[in-house]
């Protein structure tokens, strides 16, 4: 078996030797460079665009909305975001003019020489202002839905009755989370070419080639075969290259079409941080009803996220956040009301966890506060309410697979030495300037698209055998550092009983690979990997049916059979399309049913110290235990968890987007504080395996999971250390000072 072993990653050698080519490494003859001129006001009307005479504009290719050959919208869920603002400005980084020139060094001066005259309108900058409708900035129609991109209500049982019971205590508090920047190593970048014969071709850093493809078709009013999208080696995504690359690809292609030359657009860090998507800020009000023994009998949750200026993916982010907001508990009565609202900041978008880290933060902090107020053990409180096999989630989904979250929690607590440490810290803290705390969070994360999402996507994967017996996986799922190439090759290798070295993964190119869906939602290994497996089985079956091969006959026999088949038929390919399993059902109207085919389950424990002289908070130790079905590649899986935990630590106590008039004011790594290795604690990763029928060899999704737990675990540890109730992240030393000085 290759699955379960730490075989070297497929493209690892190229990456460590520097041979891997990222988009900025690619140069075409006679290529131009492009830049974007953006609005500076958060909201208003464009009155005029001035081009200063100091620049020889005839040397430049200049594009405004007027030059767009097709439709001026980014085709996603709705068609509200323009590629270039024409008359209306809805956020301060709105692209208005594009410039290209062969010498990239003169572009910056030219960019500064363009002035966009805007008649400013009062902006809406916070969730509160948007809900209060101080200005209507989206969906003006005199309906209650003004400023609201999407609204969901989930109801299970009878919440009002639960809250009216005589034997329960009621709790209520509001929690908030901030924006977060993905900070992939490689900034967004694209190269585009255009010719009348071939249409538009783009190369670039992206997660979802077919999203880009879909977005460019209406922009250029071209047919499917006249837009080609190729993913180049990609230096991280974390959701930040899910929807945004479509916009950048469109810009590069518009310039390329007008210039008649290839155009490269690479954002620098400043522009990437300021203009591209970030995690949605959120507010969550949690009300709970708890019996004196700790039975969680009612949860009433109001969850709001800030979508920024355009709808983009906010409805889907909201959906995941909504479904995860009631946590891994079998609460019989639940109501969740959720809204995504419009503001005049750049659109917030996909980011690892996709709404779940926000609402899970609120609930896991809340339950700790409940335990403290009721003098209950927070461990016992969680265990009492964990969902067990056969019980239901907030959407009334029955958990059919075996689950033992209490065992996962016990494992994490034991590894963290939780009981002893808690006792020791409580004894030592009163006499110490440095206070220590230990806290935890328990949670689940659904793998794959939400609800009917996978059914709608109907992803397709292919495998192709070559005459030398090598097998190529054909999928649009991208390698973005997380290990797609490696796990696909492992899956095929074990499925066909062929050596790992005989399996290749094709570069995602919409001309050559089918649409296996976006590389998001912890779906690649589990959902797409399962399709890879069934396509591989189909391919083998073709050879078996031809009478030339039998499973396990070895590489030589396989190669001989392939050569014979290809000589006769020209090629050997097999495709597999997603079919919703018969017992997975989802009702989109009521928001009830099987929200996800399966879940990963986790318990994370954080240890912190707080220096009361400086209010500096450090995360000193971390244990991440999770049940993930099957560990396909131990090093990659641990890497996913460690990276997610580090990102979660940043989310909790370091990374703060400072907003000024809707803009990120600290868009440099000097002032947007991502933790470094010096700030990261030892992270111990523990896996339980409970194979799921939904993934290849039992695997479930894990990519997003580790983002959910760190923030509540760390804040719970701070709460324990100082006997305070911090309710908002990022929680910085300044916030801690304000809390303890009160």
């Amino acid at each position: 078996m290759i699955v379960g072993t730490k075989i070297p990653r497929k493209e690892g050698l190229q990456k460590v030797t520097g041979a891997a080519r990222y988009v900025d490494d690619i140069v075409f003859p006679d290529m131009l460079h492009g830049v974007t001129v953006r609005s500076t006001a958060p909201r208003g009307k464009i009155k005029a665009i001035h081009f200063a005479p100091s620049i020889r504009w005839n040397e430049f290719t200049v594009i405004t909305a007027k030059d767009i050959p097709g439709k001026n919208y980014v085709a996603l869920i709705t068609y509200d975001q323009p590629f270039l603002a024409d008359t209306v400005i809805n956020h301060p980084e709105e692209p208005v003019v594009l410039l290209a020139h062969h010498d990239k060094h003169v572009l910056e001066e030219a960019r500064r020489a363009v002035t966009i005259e805007v008649e400013a309108l009062p902006p809406v900058l916070t969730i509160e202002e948007s809900l209060a409708k101080t200005q209507i900035v989206w969906g003006q129609d005199n309906s209650p839905h003004e400023n609201i991109f999407k609204e969901y209500t989930v109801v299970k049982g009878d919440v009002a009755a639960a809250f009216a019971r005589q034997d329960v205590s009621l709790f209520e508090a509001e929690y908030a989370t901030g924006a977060q920047e993905q900070l992939y190593i490689e900034n967004n970048g694209m190269i585009a070419t255009y010719s009348a014969q071939d249409g538009v071709t783009v190369w670039g850093s992206m997660q979802c080639p077919y999203y880009v493809h879909k977005g460019l078709l209406p922009l250029f009013a071209l047919g499917d075969d006249k837009v080609r999208v190729i993913q180049t080696e990609t230096g991280g995504g974390f959701g930040g290259k899910e929807e945004y690359p479509t916009l950048l690809a469109g810009h590069a292609a518009l310039l390329a079409m007008k210039a008649g030359k290839p155009v490269k657009m690479i954002y620098d860090r400043q522009e990437d941080m300021a203009a591209t998507t970030k995690r949605h800020p959120s507010k969550t009000r949690v009300k709970s009803a708890v019996t004196k023994d700790g039975d969680l009998v009612g949860l009433d949750i109001d969850f709001v996220i800030d979508g920024g200026a355009y709808n983009t993916l906010s409805p889907v982010v909201l959906s995941r956040g909504t479904i995860h907001s009631a946590g891994p508990y079998h609460t019989p009565n639940v109501r969740v009301h959720s809204r995504a609202v419009a503001t005049n900041s750049p659109p917030h978008g996909a980011f690892r966890g996709f709404g779940a880290p926000q609402s899970i933060f609120a609930l896991e902090r809340h339950l700790d506060e409940v335990a403290r107020k009721m003098a209950l053990d927070p461990v016992a409180l969680r265990k009492r309410n964990f969902i067990r096999q056969g019980e239901t989630t907030a959407t009334s989904q029955t958990i059919r697979e075996p689950v033992d979250l209490a065992a996962v929690l016990d494992k994490a607590l034991a590894a963290a030495d939780y009981d002893a440490k808690k006792k020791r810290f409580l004894a030592m803290n009163p006499s110490s300037v440095v206070k220590r705390g230990i806290g935890f969070a328990t949670f689940m994360h659904g793998a794959g698209f939400t609800g009917s999402g996978e059914k709608t996507l109907a992803s397709v994967v292919g495998v192709e055998a070559l005459a030398n017996g090598h097998v190529r996986v054909l999928a649009a799922s991208t390698e973005i550092g997380q290990g797609t190439n490696t796990v696909f090759a492992q899956i095929v290798s074990d499925t066909l009983a062929l050596p790992y070295d005989m399996i290749d993964v094709a570069q995602p190119d919409t001309r050559d690979v089918p649409n296996s869906g976006p590389t998001v939602a912890s779906r690649t290994c589990m959902v797409v990997g399962k399709l890879v497996q069934s396509a591989a089985i189909g391919l083998e079956q073709t050879l078996v049916n031809a009478g030339d091969y039998k499973h396990g006959a070895g590489a030589d026999a396989f190669a001989a059979a392939c050569a014979k088949y290809i000589a006769k038929h020209g090629s050997l390919k097999c495709y597999s399309q997603y079919q919703q399993p018969a017992n997975v059902e989802w009702d989109d109207k009521k928001y009830q049913g099987d929200a996800y085919a399966t879940y990963a389950w986790a318990a994370y424990v954080a240890e912190v110290s707080v220096d009361m002289a400086t209010y500096e908070i450090r995360c000193d130790d971390f244990v991440a235990a999770q049940e993930i079905g099957r560990v396909v590649h131990p090093v990659l899986a641990e890497g996913q968890i460690e990276g997610g935990v580090a990102q979660g630590i940043g989310y909790a106590i370091y990374e703060k987007v400072v907003w000024k008039e809707g803009r990120m004011a600290n868009g440099q790594m000097t002032n947007y504080i991502m933790p470094t290795s010096a700030d990261a604690p030892p992270i111990r990763v523990l896996f339980d395996e409970q194979p799921s029928p939904h993934g290849p060899f039992g695997a479930k999704g894990i990519g997003e999971l580790p983002m959910d737990g760190p923030a509540p675990a760390i804040l719970n540890a701070i709460a324990m250390a100082l006997d305070v109730s911090p309710r908002a992240i990022p929680f910085l030393p300044e916030d801690l000072m304000a809390l303890v000085k009160k």
């Binding site: 060094h105 003169v106 620098d268 009361m612 002032n671 470094t676 010096a678 700030d679 300044e734 000072m737």
Partner: protein
């Protein structure tokens, strides 16, 4: 990169004398470039002519005589970190070097650049103020030594005149002193200070004398806290003394709200750290 490279000239002179000539003609000094390249990358470095100091051996080296330890302006943080004399007599300066950026910056960033760059948030200045440093300034017109205390005359302003280079820094030899250095940055490394404190004193029977406290990031320039020092010397450090010192800190510093922190945080932490250092000193 937001700068137009073709609008910059960087000249490498053969000697200090040549460098001074170039400076007299308006070339601006470029040492390790760790401050300048950040400006260059973001398009904020004024286009023009620069002179690279990096190859000038006259500006390197750390020497000690009976009265002083003298450091060339090009002394890097890595040079400071491993210098045994400085480590023994002015450990604050080593601590500052160790807390600056991370290794790459420590190999390339210079003491002269840190001083000339005149950021109120720089990490060496508090240590230099406490050490009683003097700065050698040289131009075609001549050479002069100025006290470092008073060198920074306002936000990003110094006594340095057009055509002048910082050539050396010297600090008096010291013995029998206790030291305290603490940088409160936004993270463990690669961080800009929110508050930075250096102090040293003589201690006898629980009483402090010749106490020097300097703070960074709490005003337009790195500054000595003379009111606070006066409150804490030649007396018993009790609760009353600490309270008075906290009040005095408020008189000595002028912190502001900015993108990294708040006025209130900086003031409170400065007060807390002054209390911490006073108690540590008398306990030593």
């Amino acid at each position: 990169m937001r700068a137009n490279v073709s609008k910059y000239e960087l000249v490498t002179p053969a000697s200090l004398a040549d460098a001074l000539k170039l400076c007299a003609g308006g070339h601006k000094p470029f040492a390790g470039g760790t401050d300048l390249m950040v400006l260059f990358e973001s398009g904020k470095l004024p286009p023009g002519r620069y002179v690279s100091l990096w190859g000038l051996s006259e500006l390197r080296g750390i020497t000690a005589d009976d009265a002083h330890i003298t450091l060339g302006a090009l002394t890097t943080y890595s040079d400071v970190r491993v210098n045994a004399v400085i480590a023994k007599e002015h450990p604050n300066l080593c601590a500052a070097a160790k807390e600056t950026g991370a290794l790459a910056i420590q190999n390339r960033g210079t003491l002269g650049g840190n001083i000339a760059n005149a950021s109120p948030a720089a990490d060496s200045p508090p240590a230099l103020l406490v050490a009683g440093a003097e700065i050698e300034l040289r131009s075609l017109a001549g050479t002069r030594w100025v006290a470092y205390d008073g060198f920074h005359t306002g936000y990003k302003q110094t006594l340095m005149q057009a055509g002048e280079l910082i050539t050396r820094v010297r600090i008096p030899r010291a013995s029998d002193r206790v030291s305290y250095y603490r940088k409160v940055g936004t993270r463990k490394a690669q961080a800009i200070s929110k508050v930075c404190v250096a102090a040293s004193a003589k201690v006898k029977a629980g009483v402090l004398s010749d106490l020097r406290i300097a703070l960074g990031s709490v005003g337009p320039v790195p500054l000595r806290c003379k009111h606070t020092e006066a409150v804490l010397v030649t007396r018993v450090i009790d609760a009353q003394a600490i309270k008075e010192a906290r009040d005095a800190v408020q008189k000595d510093i002028a912190p502001i709200d900015d993108i990294r922190s708040t006025r209130e945080y900086r003031l409170t932490v400065a007060q807390n750290l002054v209390a911490e250092l006073a108690l540590r000193f008398v306990a030593s």
